[in-house]
Symmetry: C2
Subunit: 228 residues, 2 copies
């Protein structure tokens, strides 16, 4: 990747993605946004159909400045999105419940990204590349450790790509922010940490003799990664 | 609550919430939908502003057939939603990564709810009730163990309610569903369980002498609950 495209100062802020209420919680640089996108693996896609917004959870992948989404070619969402309508893709990581002494100052520590734009259908060589990126985003190294898709399966799957060009991150960290006077009150204040836990893998009881749990599943973890 | 309103057969299915692609994964009864809503505590709200859909994560609460959302009275989202525009509220619980022998049959075990409708501002006595339900949905018993809101804080907070009348749940459970022939392949198949973990609470170092960690934080857990 060209070094110029990962300049830390590159901003994805627009009037539409600018945080107005708590500007200090906002971030717009690609490095911060990519770290959140790389730690998550489920996004919520918003689109409008017949005047009604829909929000649907789905997996995603990232390759540089491109976000990949996939789904059944027959699905309502994929058919709607492939018409290049305005969409919003949101990824949310929850880090803690924030318990203040006042009920008003309660909060949730979180890191979220909102991306605005349009997605378009991917065909040809880029389609297999994008599906590889998406699969390996969710489980690193998995693409090459499965039966590859047939031509019919490829046709039954739609892949969409969305440029990550208009976006914002919102981040809240740290302890509660109580009003000064409230620290004199005898209520408990602090955080309850929250994380996404991955428990040991469970095989489906139909493994061929000699098939062992792959190392990438033994070591499975998610987190900011420069190289993923 | 009137027993009639919790009849297990009550369906929230409409043409707009009906699952078309995988009808067997769909559920529309209030009991199933409520169990998912009660286990989760973060929803993604979809709304349209100037033709652009936005998807924003936020906390929520439930009281019977009513969903409560709150936020700053000054926020863009709350001001938009209070105009009673069409919205979508989605709650997603992730249970496992599903690793099939074919890349095509990979999936994610999940339980999600999509609610369509409009929200409206709550004022007066119901506002404090709704905020209590919302607070206690996220941390049971917390409302009465904090400094209550002042009049100014109440004005700075908007509460919205949305009837849970048009909705669907989508549920995927179990092992991968590989094609028959693929079970003869030497790839690992099974699931990687995923859950939201809550770690021990951490105080903010500013507790008054004698203030102990409340029992509801020691015992904190989430899950389907008939009585929450």
């Amino acid at each position: 990747m060209d070094k110029l495209t990962v300049e830390p100062s590159e901003s994805l802020k627009t009037k539409r993605t600018e945080l107005r209420r708590f500007p200090k919680k906002g971030a717009y640089d690609r490095r911060t946004i990519n770290a959140i996108l790389d730690e998550g693996f489920v996004c919520h896609v918003g689109f409008v159909h017949d005047g009604q917004p829909f929000v649907i959870p789905t997996g995603y992948g990232r390759d540089g400045d491109t976000l990949y989404l996939h789904g059944s070619s027959a699905s309502r969402m994929m058919r709607a999105l492939s018409k290049e309508i305005p969409i919003c893709v949101t990824v949310t990581l929850i880090d803690a419940l924030v318990l203040a002494r006042s009920v008003f100052n309660h909060s949730v520590n979180h890191r979220s990204v909102v991306i605005l734009g349009k997605a378009s259908l991917v065909e040809g060589e880029e389609k297999e590349h994008g599906l590889t990126m998406l699969t390996n985003h969710i489980v690193a190294q998995r693409w090459t450790d499965t039966r590859p898709p047939t031509e019919i399966e490829m046709k039954a799957t739609s892949l969409l790509k969305m440029p990550i060009t208009e976006a914002s991150a919102k981040i809240r960290t740290g302890p509660p922010g109580d009003d000064d006077a409230d620290y004199e009150l005898a209520y408990w204040g602090g955080i309850l940490p929250v994380r996404t836990a991955f428990d040991p893998a469970i095989d489906d009881g139909r493994l061929l003799p000699g098939v062992e749990l792959p190392k990438y599943l033994v070591d499975y973890h998610r987190g900011p990664s420069e190289d993923r």
